[in-house]
Amino acid sequence: MVTEELIVNMGPQHPSTHGVLYLELKLDGEIIVECRPNIGYLHRSIEKIAENRTLVQFVPFTDRLDYLASMNDNLGFCLAAEKLLQIEAPARAQYLRVIVAELNRIASHLLAISTFAQDLGAYATPLFFAMRDRQKVVQIFDELCGQRLTYNYIRIGGVAGDMTPEIARMIGEFVLYFRKMVNDYDELLTHNIIFKVRSKGIGIISKEFALDYAVTGPSLRASGFKWDVRKDEPYLVYDKFDFDVPVGANGDAWDRYYVRIQEMRESLRIIEQAMGAIPEGDPVAKVNKVFRPSGEVYMRTESPRGDLGFYIVGTGETFPYRLKIRAPSFSNIAALAPLIKGLNVSDAVCALGSLDIVMGEIDR
């Protein structure tokens, strides 16, 4: 009998490629012999645009990088710019930044775990549960800055708007509500036998593999490597809070999923502490209208997907000379091809879903 290798083009339009990722799969039956990921379908030349905008003008563009965690991208860029310009945001702004970044992390993780469950064939139900809870976060952001997805809330030198008592009440209610709801996901997915047999032992990222491919974020922590920028290179006021860095044991898809669940609990702890300790004061520092950045800076923060780095080069002009965004998803997706080699298509979808990629950040 003559057998042939089948070449399947998975994407750019496919239900489980999380955007416009295009995988060229060479299949032997259903086993993947070779995988070639192709990216670039969402390339909007944001790095080139940055060279033609002032730093302040560029903040809204960072919203469009990781569109599921825009607050974290705002934060990463503003911290890098502030480090370059030697500006310090007021204490109240620092606490507000922590609160919104952690709220956004919860919203982003909710989508990550629910789309992962969707990839495993749990039709829409976890997704609707997650959307229901995410909606509450999004409403808080809507109250805070008038936008649901692209916030432009964190600015150079502070934040755009102060927290009103109404918003403080909403956040407090959300923390109480969500602390109970996280357990629902445990019941629905974490300990579900089918969910476990599908995701345990699939797409194992070992510690060495993760460091070799510069995989960061929950995918790195799932391999048992304790590394969190918030803890190990504290920025903002993260060093004042008491929180744990959850790690996995085997580095498989289930571990990556479960690290995210635990991280949401930790984020709740941070938010609660920050809400309790937030000082009074101005939410924005008095800063110049025109910035002339000079020198170089590389600043990284912990976005929901991993280490988000901004490398800014300035030459004294109002426009930055060069701006490089080190997107966590970019490195994580680069590890996909060796990761899914030898798996079958169902498991490849599982491994891809558990990496939690956002194409807007990969293609920039």
Partner: protein
């Protein structure tokens, strides 16, 4: 270990290599890339290449490496300066696999050729395109704003 100590160690280990500390990073000569990075990975346990990019300095192109050591909690910024008419540098893909896509991106956007790279194709822009858009002399179709004076 801090960056100055690292540079001293490097100069001791590889006296021939022109390792030079500047305020914005460690500048090394192009031909010493395999040697210096091999030392960093092997001797100084820099486990991870976190970021690799380039800057067009009009006339030269700087390739910038951010390598991180989880053991020493140290980020080393290394730079290689390439002349515009000879944009070749050795690939570090053999040391850190994350370099694969980073180098492809730099090749795509700046036209720097990484010798020894297994799969040097364009990554973000369409294949078959000839230009390198992040170079300063790139004339795109879009509106180019003027800096505020």
């Amino acid at each position: 270990m801090d960056i100055a100590a690292l540079v001293q160690e490097l100069q001791k280990k590889a006296p021939a290599a022109g390792v030079e500390l500047t305020p914005t990073g460690v500048v090394i000569r192009r031909d010493d890339v395999p040697l210096v990075f091999g030392l960093l990975k092997g001797e100084f346990s820099f486990e991870s290449l976190q970021c690799l990019t380039a800057v067009d300095r009009k006339g030269t192109i700087e390739v910038v490496y951010h390598v991180y050591s989880f053991t020493h909690r140290l980020m080393a910024v290394l730079k290689v300066v390439l002349a515009m008419d000879d944009l070749n540098v050795a690939s570090v893909n053999g040391l850190w696999s994350s370099a694969n896509w980073f180098e492809r991106e730099v090749y795509d956007l700046f036209g720097v050729k990484f010798t020894g790279h297994p799969d040097l194709r364009r990554i973000l822009n369409p294949e078959g395109w000839t230009e390198h858009p992040l170079r300063k002399d790139f004339k795109g179709a879009g509106v180019v704003l003027k800096p505020v004076k």
